[in-house]
Symmetry: C2
Amino acid sequence: MSVTPESPGCLAGIRVLDLTQFEAGTTCTEALAWMGADIAKVEPPRGEAGRTGFGDAYYFMMYNANKRSITVNLKSERGLALVKEMVKKADVFTENFAPGAVERLGLGYEVVSAINPKIIYAQVKGFGDGSPYEKGLSFDPIAQAAGGAMSITGELGGRPIKPGPTIGDTGTGMLLAFSIVSALLERGRTGKGRRLQVAMQDSVMHYSRGGFITQARTGKAAPRRPPANNSPHGIYPCKPEGPNDYVYLLTSRANPEHWPRLLKLVGREDLIGDTRLNDPDTRAQHHAEVDEIIASWTRQHTKQEAMAQLSGVGVPAGAVLDTQELVDEPSFYERGMLQTMVHGERKMAMPTWPVRFDGVPAEVKPAPLLGEHTAEVLADWLGLDAAAVAALRQDGVV
Amino acid sequence: MSVTPESPGCLAGIRVLDLTQFEAGTTCTEALAWMGADIAKVEPPRGEAGRTGFGDAYYFMMYNANKRSITVNLKSERGLALVKEMVKKADVFTENFAPGAVERLGLGYEVVSAINPKIIYAQVKGFGDGSPYEKGLSFDPIAQAAGGAMSITGELGGRPIKPGPTIGDTGTGMLLAFSIVSALLERGRTGKGRRLQVAMQDSVMHYSRGGFITQARTGKAAPRRPPANNSPHGIYPCKPEGPNDYVYLLTSRANPEHWPRLLKLVGREDLIGDTRLNDPDTRAQHHAEVDEIIASWTRQHTKQEAMAQLSGVGVPAGAVLDTQELVDEPSFYERGMLQTMVHGERKMAMPTWPVRFDGVPAEVKPAPLLGEHTAEVLADWLGLDAAAVAALRQDGVV
């Protein structure tokens, strides 16, 4: 790698008491971890559901990098008391249990904020307080259905499709992470804690706002794809025409140079100045003809060649890259955007935090083994010595 | 509305010099605006591309709420000098021009950070520094193609599909906004500025990490959909079987209660305890049979009825709601999650910032008219009086 990755360190000294599980909550605290916060991931002695529920460790590894794990039996009185001691030392408390569960555990907002009024108490639920579905259970695809994302994804005339990216989960986690850091910044001025609540359905609507623009414009439900007022715009087949052998390209209505650049590249200078095709509005009417002009060129190239050539002449273009092609691309490792995480016997090519600070990528440290840092965290946060931790272990509290 | 919306105010007093356009940059500064930052959106006298490029104002309205607009002719020497004066007063500088453009304008990182070493200088590009495509132009779908999102979206056996949510644009904006606020928090301690750079391709990979889990697990490109190891899991048709009349439901492998709850609801208690179907692994082998059991029930209900009943008995379920259904749902207005933005003669139902602070939704103030706040911002930021602004106007500088 050309640059040694390191944590930007922006959140050094910030302590996060992390009761999250699966992805919507864990990606939030992982974002805080990328920035250098101290994440104490409190897990039940059997491990949180995202650690145990998938048969192997990859899911857990992906969403829990750079955290520390401590096991606590929250069903025991002493375990609960221990976590309440940690509440006193924490800047942030996070959870994404099913509705009502954190209150049943005895760690609801009223309890926690009474112990530490300066805490930022942050929760993820499937649906908002006051929603007809506020008690409803949610997972990523449920939120993508109910938040509008599926209705605007798919082939024209086809069924609604769930977007592959986990907008309901990671998408929610990012909005909450931003809100937590904003609240921390404010707390520096006010000294006061805040209660943050986010619903996965609402978060999906945030990422789907393009559909709400179409809704406002047309007064009708946004379709799977917007009307073709722009041509060319979409995927075109490339050699050797396998399942992902396509290049996405478009000419922007805001930049009239894209079209003649494209014509030159595909060897159709003869059409530069053709009045039917020069103007974006009339060109859109001839989109079938335009598509055939483009496709007859793209079919002669691999998607990587097509992207390089299009991009090289200033036409916006992207090959449809799959995960194999992405993990095989050396420049991601050179840039630190992909790093290898080692976790027990597992290794994984892991996309890192995408934002570079002063040109340096953030460092990946492993997701923790279950309870790997129980003694260390209890020493750091509460000053417990080895004998005290051993006694807690002996009694099944940690 | 049951609660009066108001800005959480976390970023009150933070000044953002905002040169962003379209969506990836504007959603970033809009997030800062939701938190109460003072966004001075610097536009060329003709308006930024997202204001002028779509024939009406809805696109601009959606991504520029709660900002102030100032027009400056950056091609004039005095206009550039004016913005450099604003740099001195700014906490954050943001831009998402094409590669090289901000440097050509005379506002590259070296220039701006020399004027104000405490500034957080934040940039969005399509591809990262060091990528083979670092000079390439990008728009949301280009990033979704090149970042893996399209390869994991679609029907099994079908073409790659672009997810409707704008993960390349809004998704990128959210990661940068979080990073900016983290850098601001750090600056309170260090007094130093930072340079932040994010690539849309890399951001899309962040939201597509589920695919990289599958890649690690199987050693092969993640397919459009993961193998069906979970049943039931997917969309089921509902009355009256229109294009979006489906309910998404699943039974989690982590919660064995979902399946018997579902059987009871659909009137198939007779199958509770059926050994073929009780165990998630063997149930997955019989997914066609399971799907028919579920679909024969969902077809008798609308998606809203199905969601209410499933959700009511503790089975995770979401109706595939479209934008019309979402803007027609009264609870979103009562909760402040949808608010109406008025902008000139236009009105729009706008999804607001999804995270609630102390139970209060963030207030929507209109996206600005072009140059609406030129005099006001120049007075607030630089202390210019009306006569000075009038002179600048006269000379075509603002």
